[in-house]
Structure formats: structure tokens, C-alpha cells
């Protein structure tokens, strides 16, 4: 399809004898949220790693905006328009919230090679960073050290850093994990609006959020996509109930 933004073709990754992902082909179309669900250890984070470039695939391809990015390193894929969030926060813990988003802004403006002019005096960088913080509701915490943030705030900050990149596609690994009911609701509302800017490949355990948000759901079990469809189809699927929903719903 022409409006496919991100696609994987037969992605595969083994850790020793374990096939973490096995022939995974999914796509993400403009304007949609495509949720990937599956039990612990199903290979969801492995898939995210393969898409974003952190993990080298054994086989298969990743296409972004119709371009084969399989051979590209992580930073090149980011530049090509991929915005990723981590399941386990990968933030600079010693730095402030603002500095963490500034890093994203620096990446987005290709400005890691400016040596002498201070970041704090750069209006463009700061405007980008503050805008992203404001959108996730972290503007007031900008001077807080990342290590002092609550778990939920770190999740928000993860998303804010990805926002600064203004990516063509978001790839999010459990942005709601541990957020609590309130936080989950707020994040659900935010992601709902975000999809019109760029589609989201959403790995999530929170079924309420997934059913509320997803245009499509793919179910990953033991590294394989066992079902794919809209919310109603996935809810109705006996195979999915048995393999996954049976244990969590």
C-alpha cells in the first residue's frame, strides 16, 4: 500500500537456539496505531530493537517510507524518521529533564558538532525541547534531575524525547508500563491525538489502552505473529484468547 510508512518483511532474530522473532512481517500505515501484544518474552522488544536498528536481524528487511533501511545503523534510521521509546528508560539519569529532551533536539537539528556555543543560549533548541516537554506535561519538571523523577514521569520523558525528533513513525515499547490508572489514561489520550502526526507502532501490555487506541492489533507469541486484525477480530479470535488473552483478561 502506498500509505505504508513502516514495514517489516520476514524479520528474524535468534539468541542461540531461541527464536526471539520468527518471520515477522507487519506494517504501519499513515494515521494509525498498530498495537503489538503478546505474553512476556514473546519477542516484542526484540522486534522493536530490530526495527530501530539496535539489534541486528538475522534475516528480513525493514522499510521506512518505502526505503529499505535494513543496512542502516540506528542513528541513520533515526535521521530517516524513526522515533523510538524504550521499555526500560534509557535516559541520562544525572542530567535534568530539559537536558534529556535537548539531546533529542540536538539530534533532530543534526547539531552534535557545535563545540563552543552554549546550549542554554540556543533559542531554537530550547524551544523545541520545551514544546515537547509541554506536550507530555513535564514542562514544570524541566530542571528536575532525571534520577529524581517518578517512574511515570520517566515514561513521559521517554515519549518527549521521541517527540523532539518529529519522526515519520513512532515505535513505542510499553509507554504505559507502571503509569497507574491516571497516568495511563492521560497517556492514552495523548497517543490518541499523536497518531495524526505520525503513526505509532505500539507495544503494550495494558489491554484497556490497546483496545481503546488500536486501529489494528497483531499478536506475537513465541516470536511469531499468530493473528492480526482490528480490535473486534482480535477479541473474538479463539486462538488469541487461548494463547494470550486467556491469561491476562
Amino acid at each position: 500500500m502506498s500509505d505504508t510508512i513502516l514495514a517489516t518483511r520476514n524479520l528474524q532474530k535468534s539468541f542461540g537456539a531461541l527464536k526471539a522473532t520468527d518471520n515477522v512481517s507487519i506494517d504501519l500505515r499513515a494515521g494509525e496505531i498498530h498495537a503489538i501484544i503478546g505474553p512476556n518474552g514473546a519477542g516484542k522488544s526484540t522486534l522493536i530493537g530490530q526495527i530501530s536498528g539496535g539489534l541486528k536481524s538475522d534475516a528480513g528487511q525493514v522499510h521506512l517510507m518505502g526505503r529499505d533501511v535494513t543496512a542502516l545503523a540506528t542513528e541513520a534510521r533515526a535521521k530517516a524518521g524513526l522515533g523510538r521509546t524504550f521499555q526500560i528508560s534509557a535516559l541520562a539519569m544525572e542530567d535534568t529533564v530539559l537536558e534529556n529532551v535537548l539531546l533529542g533536539a540536538i539530534g533532530a537539528t543534526g547539531g552534535g558538532w557545535r563545540f563552543l556555543r552554549g546550549v542554554s543560549g540556543d533559542r531554537d533548541l530550547n524551544a523545541r525541547a520545551m514544546e515537547a516537554l509541554a506536550r507530555v506535561g513535564l514542562a514544570a519538571a524541566k530542571d528536575t534531575r532525571c534520577a529524581d523523577l517518578s517512574h511515570g514521569q520517566r515514561r513521559q520523558l521517554e515519549v518527549a524525547v521521541a517527540l523532539t525528533l518529529q519522526p515519520k513513525a513512532f515505535v513505542m515499547d510499553e509507554p504505559m508500563a507502571g503509569l497507574g490508572a491516571e497516568g495511563s489514561k492521560a497517556m492514552t489520550g495523548f497517543l490518541d491525538g499523536l497518531r495524526s502526526e505520525a503513526p505509532i507502532l505500539l507495544v503494550e501490555h495494558d489491554m484497556d489502552a490497546v483496545f481503546a487506541l488500536a486501529d489494528r492489533i497483531s499478536v506475537l507469541v513465541y516470536g511469531r505473529i499468530i493473528a492480526s486484525g482490528n480490535v473486534d477480530e482480535i477479541r473474538a479470535s479463539a486462538e488469541v484468547r487461548e494463547a494470550y488473552l486467556g491469561e491476562s483478561v
Partner: protein, 327 residues
């Protein structure tokens, strides 16, 4: 607790007051000691950029210190012996000009840092420590076997090199020159740390995978930082050789690499003035304890252990009550 800015200003004031007092009291040796501290501080500022900001625990920074030293030694040796410096088919004259020597020292060190960085930045952690140590040993043994420049005995330079408008033979004048070099390096370190490059490098140390996912290349940033770091330490090496009017393979020794790391830890890793405070304490201990016992390194070790155990931010951490630059 004292603000870090005040600590920094007090340290700078000390670097001006101590030699002025020594000049007034005619304590020439104190001026020499302070000069030594300033030069070691400069070398450590170089290392601090790699280690403190970039998290690269280089156990081979003596390579750059030694290269700076030998750049001075070789150029001045050919100038004082009126022999040409044979460089393949090229025949160059030596020089007694400090500016030329500094330039050669920095360029040579930067090139060496680039090559060493390319090869060793593929590794991290203990492997990086070991591979940089190995490079240090390589240069050390090469210098020992390099007979034309004194081998193990080193090279003596009879007259200190010159700088326009100064009489560098006068200790206080040479001191001011070294202090200006240190201040310039401190400004560079400070601007670097607050620039987009520095913010990125600082993040590379903490979370390289994040840096990649925002489209920046961690290894390239580390490499550039390593090159800048090597160049600054190389400049310090040239000044150190000029202070002693002597170069020898010990400038390449692993002990020297280790001492640079130690004095950064004592002062405060990644702190602007960490290298300066560390170098001042190191030189003071070396002088006073070294006069009392040959085993003064043991006491240095005790201090180091105390700092690592009880004051993670080094002396600056203790004074400011903040373990890191941001806490």
C-alpha cells in the same frame, strides 16, 4: 556548603597568590612546584574531557604527555646541536620556539589520539582500559629503545625554549605562560561541556543507545573528544619537558597515566576545576610526604581509597556537598 563557583574562584585565586607570595618571599622552588601543578592540571584537563565527560577511562594518556614531551625534546635537541631533523627524505631544522613546539606537540598528539581512538573505541569498560594501557606501554618501550634520542637516559635540553616578549628562564614568567595555557584549556573544557557537543558526549557516557536513537553517533563523538583530549595533554607534555628541560621515557609510563586518573578522582571527576584541585593536592603531597618517606604513594593510595569510599565527587564534591556536576 560552598557553591562550586566560589570553590573554582578560590582555586584560581590560589594559583595567582601562591606564586606571587613565593616571588615576594624569594621561594623560587615554590614557583617551580606551582608550575608543575599547573602543567599536571593542564594534562588532567585533557584527560577530564575524555574521562569525566565522555566516560572513557583512558589508562594511556601518558602517550600524549610523552609525545608532547618528545616533540619539545626532539625539536630543541636538533636546534641546540645544529643538526637537521631527518624526516624520510625531508630535512627539517629544529626549533627553540615554544609556539612551534606547542603546535607540533598538539598536532602529533591529536593524530596519535585519532589512531588510538579509532582502534580502541570499539571496546568499552575494562577492555578499553587495557587497550589504552597497551598503547602506553608500546610508546614507553619504543622511547626506551630509541637510541638517537637518548633511549632510556632521556634527552637534556640546555636552555629553556623561548616565547616572544618573555624571558622564559625567569621562573615566574614561565609560570604565567603555563597558567595562561591552563586557563585557556579550562575555558575550552567549560565551553565544550555546555555546547551541544558536550551535552551529547555527556549523554554518550550515560546512555549510548539513547544517543543513537536520536540520530547521533556515539562513537564519533567519543573519538572527537578523545582527539581534543589528547591534544591538550600533549601540550601539557611539551610544557612539562620545558619545565624540567629534560624528556625521558618515564613521560610515557603507565604510572603517569595512572597518576592523571588519580588526580582527577581526587579533585572530582568531570568537574571543571577537578583536575586543578587534584593536581595541586598531588604535587603538595608528592613534595611534603615525598620529603618524609619514599613510600608516599601509600598515603596517596589511602587518600584515594577514602575519597572513593566516602566522597564520590572528590574534593569538590566534599566542599560543595554535591557528588556530581548536577546533583
Amino acid at each position: 556548603m560552598i557553591g562550586e563557583r566560589h570553590v573554582n574562584l578560590a582555586v584560581l585565586a590560589g594559583l595567582v597568590i601562591v606564586p606571587l607570595w613565593a616571588l615576594w618571599a624569594d621561594e623560587i622552588f615554590t614557583i617551580t612546584l606551582t608550575t608543575r601543578a599547573v602543567i599536571l592540571a593542564l594534562a588532567a584537563v585533557g584527560l577530564n574531557i575524555a574521562l569525566g565527560i565522555g566516560g572513557m577511562v583512558s589508562f594511556g594518556h601518558a602517550v600524549f604527555f610523552g609525545l608532547g614531551g618528545y616533540a619539545m625534546g626532539i625539536l630543541a635537541f636538533h636546534a641546540q646541536s645544529y643538526t637537521p631533523l631527518q624526516f624520510g627524505p625531508l630535512s627539517l631544522a629544529g626549533t627553540k620556539s615554544m609556539q612551534v613546539i606547542w603546535l607540533v606537540a598538539m598536532v602529533t598528539s591529536a593524530l596519535a589520539a585519532w589512531v588510538i581512538g579509532l582502534l580502541s573505541l570499539r571496546t568499552t569498560g575494562v577492555y578499553f582500559i587495557m587497550i589504552t594501557l597497551a598503547f602506553g606501554q608500546m610508546f614507553f618501550y619504543f622511547a626506551i629503545s630509541w637510541g638517537s634520542y637518548g633511549g632510556e637516559d632521556g634527552l637534556s635540553i640546555y636552555v629553556r625554549n623561548g616565547f616572544p616578549g618573555l624571558n622564559t628562564l625567569v621562573p615566574i614568567q614561565f609560570f604565567w605562560l603555563c597558567l595562561v595555557a591552563l586557563c585557556v584549556a579550562l575555558v575550552v573544557q567549560w565551553r565544550l561541556r555546555t555546547s551541544p557537543f558536550g551535552l551529547t558526549l555527556n549523554a554518550v557516557r550515560q546512555t549510548p543507545q539513547r544517543v543513537e536513537t536520536v540520530g547521533l553517533n556515539p562513537r564519533k563523538h567519543k573519538l572527537v573528544a578523545f582527539v581534543i583530549s589528547g591534544a591538550i595533554t600533549g601540550l601539557a607534555g611539551a610544557l612539562f619537558a620545558d619545565l624540567n628541560r629534560f624528556v625521558s621515557p618515564t613521560m610515557f609510563s603507565w604510572q603517569l597515566s595512572g597518576e592523571l586518573i588519580i588526580l582527577i578522582i581526587i579533585g572530582g571527576v568531570g568537574r571543571l576545576m577537578g583536575p586543578v584541585i587534584g593536581a595541586a593536592i598531588f604535587v603538595a603531597l608528592e613534595h611534603w610526604l615525598g620529603g618524609l618517606t619514599d613510600f608516599w604513594h601509600i598515603w596517596l593510595g589511602v587518600i584515594l581509597i577514602c575519597i572513593v569510599l566516602f566522597g564520590r565527587g572528590g574534593v569538590i564534591g566534599l566542599l560543595t556537598g554535591k557528588e556530581g556536576p548536577h546533583v
